[in-house]
């Protein structure tokens, strides 16, 4: 039943994709400039050309690895900081404004600051970290606040050990909040990480390839890389959603 529904959904989206591809093709035909816009045919042909090169996969691997590292650090740090902040008032007072500031600072500023402070190879790790940290932190805080106080009171009366309270009460309440933060955060981490690689000209990364395409006015490469980024973002979000849905169900 679920598979049937999924097939119906896919069939429904195909005409929409075809419609926008036609519009894209039409616009590129009207503009007739391969520097401003290339047609979908040229873009996908270039994507396939790139996909058979080692550089394409190495760049994806490097970017993906670093961004996922930054994302994972933020996921752990966000949950731990939120847990301490919700229990210890002084930590909350110190960290809530700091994380609000992190949330408000533009990615470009962080990238420039980070370029001055670290080795550029760590740039996307750092940028992904600061992008995802506020999302995870505030979502986890919200989750902790929504924990049923009556259940906690019950656990206290029965003198239930802390590890059991965490496993049976907090984890269950928090998992949808953390899952939602993670699925939102992975998309942000991906986009901001690649933007940072582009600004920082981190060699051997997706961002670097985008910058090379721009400076050499190779619009076909630029479009092909963009398509690759969008596809990877879509795949990652779905993988994470699948994993977290499994975790929540358990």
């Amino acid at each position: 039943m679920r598979l049937k529904q999924r097939a119906v959904n896919i069939l429904k989206i195909i005409p929409v994709i075809l419609f926008w591809l036609l519009i894209w093709e039409g616009v590129s035909f009207l503009i007739q400039s391969n520097i401003i816009i290339v047609s979908p045919r040229v873009t996908f042909a270039r994507l396939f050309e790139l996909a058979v090169t080692a550089n394409f996969w190495q760049s994806i691997g490097t970017s993906l690895g670093r961004i996922l590292r930054g994302f994972s650090y933020a996921l752990c740090a966000g949950v731990v900081l939120a847990a301490f902040s919700s229990k210890i008032k002084i930590i909350e007072r110190l960290f809530v404004p700091a994380i609000n500031v992190i949330n408000a600072v533009p990615i470009a500023s962080f990238t420039i600051l980070a370029l001055m402070a670290f080795n550029s190879s760590n740039l996307s790790i750092f940028v992904a970290f600061v992008t995802v940290l506020p999302i995870v932190f505030f979502n986890t805080m919200k989750g902790i606040e929504s924990t049923d106080p009556q259940l906690l009171e019950m656990a206290n009366v029965f003198q239930v050990p802390v590890h059991k309270k965490i496993f049976y009460i907090y984890l269950k309440t928090l998992s949808p909040f953390v899952a939602s933060a993670a699925t939102t955060g992975i998309g942000f981490a991906w986009k901001s990480g690649i933007a940072a690689e582009l600004i920082g000209l981190v060699s051997g990364t997706i961002g670097f390839n985008l910058q090379i395409a721009r400076t050499s006015l190779n619009t076909a490469n630029l479009f092909a890389w963009t398509i690759a980024i969008v596809l990877l973002s879509y795949i990652m979000e779905h993988i994470f959603r699948f994993i977290f849905n499994r975790v929540i169900k358990q």
Partner: protein, 184 residues
């Protein structure tokens, strides 16, 4: 023995307990009274969940307390067995209690899927398995069919240890359980 002396408790403007003095001895004490007179507030003070505005309680310090709350307070996403094991890891005893409570076919069912009466029985098993010197039962037989109620009341009589305080509205329940009857 628990001694409560001149207990006062208010929630905002509403004074719930006013100069209550009461003793609870070893064995079962049934606490009766009309709705809203503060029975739950009184036992919550004994359990240490609430603090009195003034007054003194002697005999609860360092004691292990077990409670059947007025609300079920179950981990709805966990099975009946896990809910009981949550307060005590003795699996064998947990299974034994749940079976005695007529839940042998529902051990591994999530409590969210159980009926109100079944949930109440899980709460009772959870309270009975927890090590306790003081057992507080706030309307523990609420929602139970009359047939099963007798065996569950017998279970309480068999397993309750130390001081047991049972809130009930039903005279027949207090008669069955025996022990002292106190009115508030």
């Amino acid at each position: 023995m628990i001694k409560m002396k001149n207990i006062y408790k208010s929630f905002g403007e509403l004074q719930v307990l006013r100069d209550i003095s009461m003793d609870f001895n070893e064995g079962i004490t049934c606490l009766m009274g009309q709705s809203g007179v503060g029975k739950t507030t009184l036992v919550n003070i004994v359990a240490g969940i609430l603090s009195p505005d003034s007054g003194e309680i002697i005999g609860t310090e360092g004691k292990k307390i077990s409670v059947v709350f007025q609300e079920d307070r179950l981990l709805e996403w966990e099975t009946a067995l896990t809910n009981v094991l949550f307060v005590n890891n003795n699996r064998e005893r947990a299974v034994e209690l749940l079976m005695q409570a007529g839940l042998s076919e529902n051990l591994h069912k999530k409590t969210a899927e159980l009926s109100g009466g079944m949930k109440r029985r899980v709460c009772l098993c959870r309270a009975l398995i927890a090590e306790h010197d003081i057992l507080i039962l706030d309307e523990p037989f609420k929602g139970l069919d009359s047939e099963i109620k007798i065996s569950i009341m017998q279970m309480v009589k068999n397993h309750a240890k130390g001081i047991t305080i049972c809130i009930t509205h039903d005279q027949s329940e207090s008669e069955f359980l025996g022990g002292e009857i106190k009115n508030i």
